[in-house]
Subunit: 229 residues, 4 copies
C-alpha cells in the first residue's frame, strides 16, 4: 500500500537496549530478516540512529529511524535531519514515541517532510483521541501504545481492547488511508492475533522481541499468528 | 594530553548542513584528514549521528558526535546512547552546543559517563561564567562560543577577546586540566592565530569550513596558523 | 454558548509585556472592561499568572490564564496547576500558544482537565492541518495564528485569508461545536471585520492592543467592527 | 546577610499540593508566619505563582516564587517574568528545582537577573559537583537535594551526609558568600539539627510540612532545632 511498505507488518523497535546496540543491532536485524523471508511476513526494524546505516547495509527488510527532528538542513547541531536518515537507506521513521514525545506543531512538520521525501511516517500515540488528532495530520501509520503497558508484558490487545478498537474506528473516520498498528505489552503470538482481530494491521513491539531469550522463536510466533489471520 | 586527543586542535562541526550530510560528510572528513596529515596539525570532525559510523570507517582522524543524551541503556526510544556512539569508533562528543543546550544536571551526567567510558567530552558554553560552571564538572574541553557570533564571520577571537581571555582564566582557576577552545565566526587563519594568542588550545568551527567555497584551502590556512604559533 | 463565555469575542493576550505587568495589567483590564460595557461586545483578557488573581478581583469580564501545565495536584514545583488557576476566578486558559508550544499528548490532557473543571479551553494553532488535529481533541475554541505574522501588524485575516477559511472549514468538519478565532497582526477594526467575514467568531490579539498608544481607542475600534458585522 | 533574607532559614516549598493551593496556601503561610514570630526563626514560603500575590499580601515573612523563566519583558506568552514576580512582593525565587530542571545557560541568566533586581536566588541541585557548578554562577543560596530522597521521609542530612558536607565544602571553596541549604526527606527536628551540624544554614522542605497532619507542630519542631543549634 504505502510506497515502501506492505501490511500487515511487525515493526521491532530496538530502543536503546544493550541487546540491540552496535553489532547486536545488526545481528537482531538479520534474525528479523530471516523470519521475514521464511514466513513471507513483513517485518521491519527500528535501530538507534548510530546503527541505522550499518543495519540498512546488512539487511534487505525495511528499516526505520526511531525519531527525526522538525528541522531543515542548516544550523542544528545535535539534531536528526530527515535527509541524513534517508541517505542511510531507511524507509521511514517513528515519530512521537512514548519515550520521545513531540510538540503538536512539530509532529505536523515532520509528517509533512516525511511525506514529501517519499518515506513512511509512523506516529505513536497514547490513546484514541490523540490517535484521531494524529490521523488528521495524514501520516501513513498511527500506532497506539498506552504508555502504562509498555514493557510490562500485559498486551494492549487483550487488556485494553477498547483503546485499540476506538483508535481503529476514529483513525478510519478521519482518514481511511491511515493504517493503525498497536503496541505495548506484546510478547506472544496470541497478542498479535488479538491485535489483528481488533482491526489493526500489525504491531509495534520492543522488549517482547529484543529482550526475549530467543528473539527468533518469538518473532516466528508473531509471524505465524499473522499468517493464520 | 587526553586519552585520545592532542592539542592544539581544530574541531570541525558539520551541524546538519547539506554540504556535510551523507556522502558529503565522508568527503569533507577526508579533506580534514588530508590537511591533518599534510600539516601535522590535529584536526577532528563532528558529523551527524547517522553519518558517524561511515565517517569513522572512512578516516583515521578523531571523530566526535555532536550530542549524546543523559541516558543509560534501556527504554529510551529516539535518544542517543553513549555506548552506540562509542561503538562507531568516535573518540568523544560535543555537549551542550548552542543549538542543543542541555540542563545543568544532564551535562553533569553526560560528562561523567563520557569520562567513565574513556572518551573525550567537549562542553560548549556561551560566556565566561557558564564556562567556569562547566569546568567545575571536569570535562576534558570547554569551548566558549558566544551564540550571537555563530555563523556570522565575525570572529570571537577578535571581536570579543575578553570573553575568551576571561574564560581561559576562569577555567584554569577551577580546573587546570581542562582545555579551553573557542568558536563562533572563525573563518580565517588570523582568527585562529588570535584564538591561540588569547590562551586557547584551538578552535571549534562550523560554517567557516563547511560552507567555504574551498574547505581544504581554508582548513590549510587554519593549520598553518596553528603551526606558526 | 460555552459555559462561561459568549461569542463573538475579543481576547487580549497580555504576554509578558511591561505595558501589561502588575498594576498595568489591572489598568489595561479595566480599559477592556469599560469597552466591553460601553459596546456590549464580549472582551476577555489573558494576563500573566502572577497577575491573574488581582485582575480577576479587579474586573468583571472573563479572564484567561496564558498557560497551564499537564499536571495533577502533587509534586510539580514551578508548574502551573489548573486548580490554582481556577481558584483565582479565571474562566479558562490559552493552550499551546506560539510562544509556549506543547506536546500533542499534553494538549489532550490539558483540554480534558479544563473540560472536567467546567472551564474554557482556547487552543492556539499555527495552520489549518494543526487546527484540524487540535479540534479532534474537543477544545472549546481553536485560535489559528501563523507565527510568522505575530507582532508584525500584517493581519492574518487580510494577508493569509486562506489559512483562516481552511481552518474554519476543517474545524467545523471535525467538530461543529468548536469555535474558531484567528490572530496575528490584528491592529485595526478592518482586520477584525475581515476575520469575522472569513467565518471566525472573533480574534486573539496581543501587541495590537497592549502596545497601542491608546489601547482603549483601538479596542473600541475592534468592538465597533464586531457590532457592525 | 542577603538583602532581604537572614539565615539560618527554613524554606517551605508548597509545590502544587492541594493542601497548599489557593486559600490553603494563605492558611499555611500564616502558620509559617506564626511559628516564625513565636520562635524568632527565619521561615519562608514558596507558594504557586497564582497564589503569590495573595500570600505576599497576607503575611510578613519572606515569600519566594518556585520558578522564573530566563526571559525579558516582551513576547513570551505563558512564561514567568521576574518583574511580575517582584511586583507581587516576593523576595526571591527557587531556580532549577528537581521538578523543574533548567538548562545551564538559562540558570546563569536567571541568577544574573535576580541579582540585578535585588532579589534572592536559591538554586536547587542534586549532588556535590552540580552544586559546585551552580555556585560558580554566584547565586545567594544553593540547596542540595538528592532527587531520589525527595518526598520519602528519608532525610538527606542523615542518610547521605557526605553529599551535604561535600556540597558545603565545594560551594565554600568556589564562593564563600554562597549559603548552602539542604533538602529531601526532612520531616523531623533532628533532621534539621543534623543539617545544621553538617554545615548548612537551614533546610528546604516540602511534604514534610505541607503534608504533615499538624504542619504547625512540625514547623515548631524544626524551629526549636534551629534555636538549639
Amino acid at each position: 500500500m504505502m510506497k515502501n511498505l506492505k501490511v500487515p507488518i511487525i515493526i521491532v523497535n530496538f530502543k536503546t537496549y544493550s541487546e540491540a546496540t552496535g553489532k547486536k543491532a545488526i545481528m537482531l536485524s538479520r534474525i528479523a530478516e530471516e523470519v521475514s523471508i521464511e514466513t513471507g511476513v513483513n517485518i521491519s526494524v527500528a535501530p538507534q540512529l548510530a546503527d541505522l546505516a550499518s543495519v540498512c547495509n546488512a539487511v534487505s527488510i525495511p528499516v526505520f529511524a526511531q525519531h527525526v527532528d522538525p528541522i531543515f538542513p542548516g544550523s542544528s547541531t545535535g539534531h536528526v535531519l530527515l535527509e541524513s536518515v534517508k541517505e542511510t537507506g531507511a524507509v521511514g521513521t517513528l515519530i512521537n514515541h512514548s519515550e520521545r514525545r513531540l510538540k503538536l506543531c512539530d509532529i505536523e512538520v515532520i509528517i509533512a517532510r516525511v511525506r514529501e521525501s517519499g518515506m513512511v511516517s509512523v506516529v505513536c500515540t497514547n490513546n484514541a483521541p490523540v490517535s484521531e488528532a494524529a490521523a488528521a495530520l495524514k501520516p501513513d501509520i498511527v500506532s497506539v501504545e498506552p504508555p502504562e503497558l509498555i514493557g510490562t508484558g500485559i498486551p494492549v490487545s487483550k487488556s485494553k481492547p477498547e483503546i485499540v478498537t476506538q483508535t481503529v474506528a476514529l483513525v478510519k473516520h478521519v482518514n481511511p488511508c491511515v493504517v493503525t498498528l498497536c503496541g505495548a505489552g506484546i510478547t506472544k503470538g496470541e497478542d498479535v492475533a488479538a491485535a489483528l482481530k481488533l482491526g489493526t494491521k500489525g504491531v509495534l513491539v520492543a522488549s517482547g522481541i529484543v529482550k526475549a531469550k530467543d528473539p527468533k522463536k518469538v518473532l516466528m510466533e508473531f509471524a505465524v499468528a499473522i499468517n493464520a489471520h
